[in-house]
Structures are given as structure tokens and as C-alpha cells.
């Protein structure tokens, strides 16, 4: 980690705005951690220490929060994250076939990032779009009714 971990003046103003929305400023911790991840790419120990300073709490508190939630990355992630649901309804609709197809196409296993840093592939729990199983979250978007061909088209578009 070489780049310094800090927010811009505008971001710090946004942190203060978020903190003021809650009866206790600590309520803004999850939103600020989302900001930190969007800014720094992932939440390093340095980022945790920096956020701890903004909330005047121990870095240990930030660490236990970061490690508790699945959407915070503690390691650099790919430029795109493909998270395939493997819970019950998607399982019934062939989620494992979709996961294996993506693993083959990307040359990685679930939980890994492609060597070129393009895609992180995950198997995740229910994303609550079971009416369109099998499905995945690709970055911010839900991709529904997946087939191997549709997966290929989606990967194609991820640069």
C-alpha cells in the first residue's frame, strides 16, 4: 500500500453530512465504509485506521465491522465483481452449472480474481431475485435468467 489513504475535502464534508444524519455519528459508519471502498478500491488496514480517526473509535472496532460484512473487500478486487447466487431457488435452476461455466471461461475458481485483474468471481447467498433464477449481481446490476450464452455476453462487455 503506497498511495496515501485519505478523502478529499468534498468527501470529508460528505462524511460530516452523513454523520449528522444519525443521533450518534457512528451510525454513518457503514455508508462511510462504502465511500472508502469506492474511493480506495478495497478497505486496507490503513483505510480502517483512517476511518477509525474519522469516527474517533479504535481501529479494532472498524476491523470487526469490515470483517463482518460480505460487501467490504479486505484485499484488492477485480475491476468487476460477478457474484452468482447459489442459494436454493438458483440451485434448482442450475446455478452450479453457471458457476462452473464462469470458472472455465475466466480460468479461475469462485472466490478468485482473474490474473489481469478484470473480474472477481464469487458464489453468494440469496440475492432475492429468485423469480429470475439463476441470477447474479454484476457490479451494481442484477443479471437475471442466466444461461451460459448470456454469461459469455456479460463477460464480453466487462472491460
Amino acid at each position: 500500500m503506497t498511495a496515501p489513504v485519505s478523502f478529499s475535502a468534498e468527501q470529508l464534508a460528505e462524511v460530516r453530512r452523513l454523520q449528522a444524519l444519525y443521533p450518534d455519528k457512528r451510525g454513518a459508519l457503514l455508508p462511510v465504509l462504502h465511500m472508502a471502498q469506492d474511493t480506495f478500491g478495497y478497505i486496507s488496514l490503513e483505510a480502517e485506521a483512517y476511518v477509525a480517526g474519522l469516527f474517533e473509535v479504535s481501529p479494532a472496532h472498524i476491523h470487526e465491522v469490515v470483517t463482518f460484512y460480505t460487501l467490504y473487500f479486505q484485499q484488492p478486487k477485480g475491476r468487476h465483481v460477478v457474484a452468482v447466487c447459489h442459494n436454493l431457488s438458483c440451485h434448482l435452476a442450475g446455478a452450479q452449472d453457471i458457476l462452473r461455466h464462469l470458472e472455465t471461461r475466466l480460468g479461475i475458481r469462485r472466490g478468485e480474481t482473474s490474473e489481469d485483474g478484470r473480474v472477481t468471481l464469487q458464489a453468494v447467498e440469496c440475492l432475492c431475485a429468485c423469480e429470475a433464477a439463476p441470477m447474479a449481481q454484476v457490479n451494481d446490476r442484477y443479471e437475471l435468467n442466466l444461461t451460459p450464452e448470456k454469461c459469455d455476453r456479460i463477460l464480453e462487455a466487462l472491460r
Binding site: A28, Y69, L88, L92, E125, C126, C128, A129, C130
Partner: protein, 400 residues
């Protein structure tokens, strides 16, 4: 769902054109106690999972409390097989906001939080846009403010006290009750936590009356609700129906069984509900109907399995889910979910023994009620019911 089929249903204009915010106008002429009373009489019960009577929950706010009261919306939908709140946030966000305004008046709250699961980025954007519209129109900011809060990925935050811990900026560990949130909730203040769909029912109750709503349902639960139907059915989707509908009728409404066309089993109320066999589906889909059938309606997520589905594999998928999502706070849950996942995995891989089935049943049956929240009780339902109702299928996979 009055608005669902319109492409612009999420906008304030469309909502108003369909009669939206009339209930709020009416509620402003009502005393808070009268609103609580009306919702009590409507027999509205919580639609997130627990099925607790909504009006009664509201009445637990201490009458003598003079400090702040918070309204928290549980939009942390995550129960396997459930997707109705996603539809509501995306297609009818103003119904939720109107329900919040009325509820806030009833419980004398000036500040509401809407906790949306972190993965719901599009629903969060849609809902946030509706909040902005409501501020611009002067609906919000006149004695009631709304903060939209994004979660960060943790099933346990759908449990109401886990959600409050998370809202306070902590890991989502549930809290021991009592004190209940209505006495000591978010940031230490009296708090009402209601599910998205529950609050969306409030405007029609106020507008059309408790008797009308109660009359739609059964003796102990009023209204219609949104059933999420998925798995092996021809037309998976959200179906609104009176809570007196039977599971058989609901499956028929979703086009009937797909795959082999022959029904094997149904999960009637989200992943944590005990499974029903094909000859157990003539039950009404209300809280008490399914309770009497030994399972639960929970979040009304219906997952249909045809004859070709492997029940042991289905249980493995759920066991993996519970092991992954256990928050780790209570020993029985943390340890049992992990070990049971390993044991069920061993069985589906063909390395299990019949004794393992008895071990799982023994552990599961002794674990009920030993933990801070209902998560582990929810895991036990599938462990026991899948094995007891489909034991021979598990035994076929065992080595001896």
C-alpha cells in the same frame, strides 16, 4: 400493488394519480391513538417473517416517553426465496413512504430510517429518488424526516435487533430481548421496526377501514399479502392473494409445477420454514394456518420442488447458507451450523453414515431456544423436516 403494472409506477405523479397520499391526508385528521386502534382492528400482522400483530407492536411505545421515537424500516430482504420487498422498493416506493408517514404519526416519531440491504443498489436508487420527490413536494421534512441507509451484506441484519446494531454502525449482532426495541431500540431510544410490505399495508387500512382489511383475510390475520413463488413452477413471480389462499391454489396461480410436472415438496415461507410434502399443500397461507401445519409462513417465500429435485442436496444448500450467515455470537448456532453443513456435505458426497442423520436430528432438536435470536431456530426447521420427511432419500446416499 395497485400500481405495479405502470412503467412509471415509482413516480410521485403516478402514485398520486392512483389515489396515493389520500390516506395520509386522512390520517392527519386522526389522533395517533385512533390510527393505532385502526391498525389493531385490521388484524395486520408483520409480513417480514415473525407475523407479530403490527398495531400491538406500535402500542408498546411507552406512553410516558418524552424523548425521540424512531421508526425503522426493515428493507434487508434476504430470506431465501423472497423477493417481494424488492418489487415494492422499485415499483411502489411512495406506498412505503406514505405508510411511514402514517406510522410515524401513530407512534409520534419525527425520524425514520430505511435499512436497505447493500446488494439492492437499484432499489436503493429508486427509493432514494422517491424520498427526494417527497421532500420536494413537502410531504417529508414537515415534522418527519427519512434517512435511507445501506447495509453491507449480512443476512442476520434482517433480524430486527441485528438490524439495529448494524444501523448503529456495529457488526450486526442481535441483542437479548427484553428490552424490546419498542422500549429501548435504535441508539437507545424507543423504536418500531417494521417490514417494507407491512408498512405498505397501512395506507389502504387507513383509507378503506380496518373492517375492510380484516375481511380480506382469516379470523386472526387480515388482508392480502405478496407471495414470492419460485423454484419449479411455470410462472415464478410475486402473487398478491388473500392470506386465506391455500398453498395448492397458489402453486396453480404460478402456472403449476414445472420440470417433471409432479410435485415432491414445497418450502412455504422462505428457506427457514419446515418443508411440506406434496400431500401437505391443502393448507391456508396465513400465519396460523401454516403454524398449525408445523411450519411457518415467514416471509411468504414459496419454493417449489418437483420429483426430480434431490432433497439432500437442497438441505446442503441451506445448511451451507446457515453456516455462512451465522453471526457467531451464540455457541450453539455458530458450532452446530458449521458441523451440520459438514455432515450434510459428507452425506451428499456419498461418504455419510445413517448414524449421521440421527446425530443431526439430535443436535437440532436440543438446540431450539438456546440462542439470542431466532436465526438458529430457523435453521433447525429445515434440518429436522428435510431429514424426517425424506429420510429414505438421505439413507440411499449413505454408506452404511
Amino acid at each position: 400493488m395497485r400500481n405495479f403494472d405502470r412503467p412509471d409506477s415509482h413516480t410521485l405523479t403516478a402514485y398520486r394519480n392512483a389515489g396515493g397520499y389520500r390516506a395520509w391526508t386522512k390520517a392527519q385528521t386522526m389522533e395517533p391513538a385512533a390510527i393505532v386502534d385502526e391498525v389493531k382492528k385490521s388484524n395486520l400482522r408483520g409480513l417480514g417473517g415473525a407475523g407479530f400483530p403490527t398495531g400491538m407492536k406500535w402500542s408498546f411505545i411507552p406512553k410516558t416517553h418524552t424523548g425521540p421515537v424512531y421508526l425503522v424500516v426493515n428493507a434487508d430482504e434476504g430470506e431465501p426465496g423472497t423477493f417481494k420487498d424488492r418489487y415494492l422498493l422499485e415499483r411502489d416506493p411512495h406506498a412505503l413512504l406514505e405508510g411511514m408517514l402514517i406510522t410515524a404519526r401513530a407512534i409520534r416519531s419525527a425520524l425514520g430510517f430505511v435499512y436497505i440491504r447493500g446488494e439492492y443498489v437499484q432499489p436503493w436508487r429508486r427509493f432514494s429518488a422517491a424520498v427526494k420527490e417527497a421532500y420536494d413536494a413537502g410531504l417529508l421534512g414537515q415534522g418527519f424526516d427519512v434517512v435511507v441507509h445501506r447495509g453491507a451484506g449480512a443476512y442476520i441484519c434482517g433480524e430486527e435487533t441485528g438490524l439495529l446494531s448494524s444501523l448503529e454502525g456495529k457488526k450486526g449482532w442481535p441483542k437479548i430481548k427484553p428490552p424490546f426495541p419498542a422500549i429501548k431500540g435504535a441508539f437507545g431510544q424507543p423504536t418500531i421496526v417494521n417490514n417494507v410490505e407491512t408498512l405498505c399495508c397501512v395506507p389502504p387500512i387507513v383509507e378503506r377501514g380496518a373492517a375492510w382489511f380484516a375481511g380480506l383475510g382469516t379470523k386472526t390475520q387480515g388482508g392480502t399479502r405478496m407471495y414470492s413463488v419460485s423454484g419449479r413452477v411455470k410462472s415464478p413471480g410475486v402473487y398478491e392473494a388473500p392470506v386465506s389462499i391455500t398453498l395448492r391454489q397458489l402453486i396453480e396461480r404460478a402456472g403449476g409445477v414445472s420440470g417433471t410436472g409432479r410435485l415432491k415438496a414445497v418450502v412455504p415461507g422462505g428457506g427457514s420454514a419446515a418443508i411440506l410434502t406434496a400431500d401437505e399443500i391443502d393448507v391456508t397461507m396465513d400465519v396460523d394456518g401454516l403454524k398449525n401445519a408445523g411450519t411457518m409462513v415467514g416471509s411468504a417465500g414459496v419454493i417449489v420442488m418437483d420429483e426430480s429435485v434431490s432433497i439432500p442436496e437442497a438441505l446442503f444448500v441451506l445448511a451451507r447458507f446457515y453456516a455462512h450467515e451465522s453471526c457467531g455470537q451464540c455457541t450453539p448456532c455458530r458450532e452446530s451450523t458449521g458441523w451440520i453443513e459438514k455432515m450434510v456435505h459428507r452425506i451428499v458426497e456419498g461418504h455419510g453414515h445413517k448414524d449421521d442423520l440421527d446425530t443431526i436430528l439430535d443436535v437440532a432438536k436440543r438446540g431450539g431456544g438456546t440462542t439470542i435470536c431466532a436465526f438458529y431456530d430457523g435453521a433447525i426447521g429445515p434440518y429436522i423436516s428435510y431429514i424426517e420427511k425424506f429420510r429414505s432419500e438421505f439413507e440411499t446416499l449413505c454408506r452404511g
